[in-house]
């Protein structure tokens, strides 16, 4: 991907969110490699993990590349966490195109490169909270969705953005089982889509995003449960109607359109009050889930006056 790393070209991009975490917060690769060797080698690995886990919870240390790329929910490649890493190599992302349609000024089929051209690439270290009550911290690279939407020109009637994942049964073996009504679909309200936190990611740890994490381009909405952050996007539609979304269609009682991270609203089958950060070993402790996954200050005003128990 040969797009330019922009800097200071964001004249029309007010309220750009800045990371409070920096490069310095990322564990350097040699160090975490070292740590893995230690853990793998030590007989007292359990003791090691229990010492390490309180620190993990407090410092927002990004997860390792290995954990981020080997523990995934991407049902198009299978429903087990290890299935995407095992099967995603089948997906051919060369020549990837994204259909942009609906209420936009410049609809059409865009290559990823043309969509990203001239936009400033961001590095964002975000918490990632799965609806299954586990979490990670991921150092993403990508562009703000708003910049892409500005490029294609959102028309005044648009109220929502709908997204679709690739639907290629030959390259995505999970599509052969009817786990969900394929293709995978997600959506955001326009103001959520335009929020500076909302990212279209193309990389992790400065490397191209692996297929199992949603190559070549995926959404990242850090204050919502992970399934909202749709992967391997082939279609973006601007619409005036709330778009149908896959998990909501599958089970509307359990998965709402908004699906904001909210420790006070339980999933009908489990509590959302706590979470366990991936990578803490067998004696990993749970820690409290934060409202809007810790982004309350940034996004709470989007939902002012809304009953979040009704619009969960």
């Amino acid at each position: 991907m040969g797009y330019i790393l922009g800097s200071g070209k964001d004249l029309n991009m007010a309220h750009r969110w800045t990371n409070t975490l920096t490069r310095a917060d990322i564990t350097p690769e040699p160090l975490w490699l070292n740590r893995r060797q230690l853990i793998a080698g030590a007989l007292g690995a359990g003791a090691m993990a229990s010492i390490a886990s309180p620190a993990l919870a407090e410092t927002l240390e990004p997860n390792t590349w290995e954990h981020i790329t080997s523990y995934n929910n991407f049902y198009e490649f299978g429903t087990d966490k290890e299935d995407p890493a095992a099967n995603a190599h089948l997906l051919n992302t060369a020549g990837w195109e994204i259909e942009v349609d609906g209420l936009v000024d410049a609809p059409g089929r865009y290559s990823v490169a043309s969509l990203l051209e001239g936009l400033s690439e961001e590095e964002r270290i975000y918490r990632f909270r799965c609806v299954e009550a586990w979490s990670m911290v991921v150092p993403w690279n990508g562009v703000e969705l708003k910049d892409i939407l500005d490029k294609v020109g959102v028309q005044s009637g648009a109220k929502y953005v709908a997204f679709e994942t690739a639907n290629r049964p030959d390259e995505m073996p999970g599509l052969r089982s009817p786990v969900l009504d394929w293709p995978y679909r997600e959506g955001l309200r326009l103001d959520e889509a335009l929020h500076p936190l909302t990212l279209m990611a193309t990389g992790i740890y400065g490397k191209p995003i692996p297929n199992q994490n949603g190559a070549p381009i995926r959404l990242v909405v850090p204050w919502k449960y992970g399934f909202k952050s749709i992967k391997s996007i082939v279609r973006i539609t601007l619409t005036d109607q709330e778009p149908p979304t896959s998990w909501n269609m599958a089970n509307p009682r359990e998965y709402g359109f908004y699906s904001n991270v909210n420790p006070t609203v339980s999933h009908p089958r489990w509590s959302q009050a706590t979470e366990r950060k991936i990578g803490g070993g067998l004696f990993n402790r749970r820690h409290p889930t934060l409202m809007f996954n810790g982004y309350e200050a940034e996004v709470a005003d989007l939902y002012e006056g809304m009953d979040l128990k009704t619009y969960f």
Binding site: Y71, Y75, T79, E132, V179, S271, G279, L282, F283
Partner: protein, 215 residues
């Protein structure tokens, strides 16, 4: 011939050997967990593996009598070992959930009461306790006919376990449903047998009454 050979072979195996064999997968999984070899989320992995193995043992237990009936392969001697080890795995599964996953004594009751899949799983676990406690020769002798009646709880346990698996899956989970299909199939085979038993019982009763009336 082959069946006879298999049965002769099976008779030579002491039942304690099966206890040891069935212990191996659990011990290997726990060892993998302790040595950081269960992937990025070892607590869930351990919980799932122990639960799934328990369910498979329950299904194997249900398979013993149809196997004898249809193929004459006799595993009846090993049924106690299968059942007791199924209970051991359910117990381990419960302990991992409670001690490592939930990590809270105060939450256990709300979880059991509020989460239907936990309620169903707990009901299955509790129903297994009297079965495990009476899986010894003394209880079989003491309880007499009631022992057989009591141990029909196994069918309920299997259904609850299968249901528990389905209820905790996300989306349309083929694996969980397949387990339930197998459980129901084994129970259906028995329903045929029970119905025949009931029919012959009714028949005998009718003959008795009719016989008496005509006499």
């Amino acid at each position: 011939m082959l069946i006879q050979w298999i049965n002769t072979g099976l008779r030579k195996i002491p039942t304690w050997v099966l206890y040891l064999i069935l212990l191996i997968p659990g011990l290997l999984t726990i060892a993998a967990g302790l040595t950081d070899n269960l992937g990025p989320e070892p607590i869930n992995e351990l919980e799932e593996e122990l639960g799934e193995f328990a369910l498979k043992l329950l299904i194997l237990g249900l398979a013993v009598s149809p196997l004898l009936h249809f193929t004459r392969i006799n595993l009846v001697r090993f049924r106690r070992a299968i059942g007791v080890m199924a209970f051991a795995y359910v117990m381990a599964h419960f302990l991992v959930w409670f001690l490592l996953d939930l990590q809270s004594l105060s939450h256990i009751w709300t979880e059991i009461a509020k989460r239907p899949y936990v309620t169903v799983g707990m009901a299955g676990f509790i129903a297994m306790i009297p079965l495990a406690l009476t899986s010894n020769d003394l209880s079989v002798r003491r309880l007499g006919r009631f022992w057989r009646v009591l141990h029909r709880l196994t069918y309920l346990v299997a259904i609850l376990a299968g249901l528990h698996f389905i209820m905790l899956s996300k989306g349309f989970d083929v694996e969980a449903l397949a387990h339930m299909v197998v459980i129901l199939a084994f129970l259906a085979l028995r329903i045929g047998k029970w119905r025949r038993g009931l029919q012959s019982g009714v028949q005998r009763l009718r003959e008795k009454i009719l016989g008496r009336a005509s006499a």
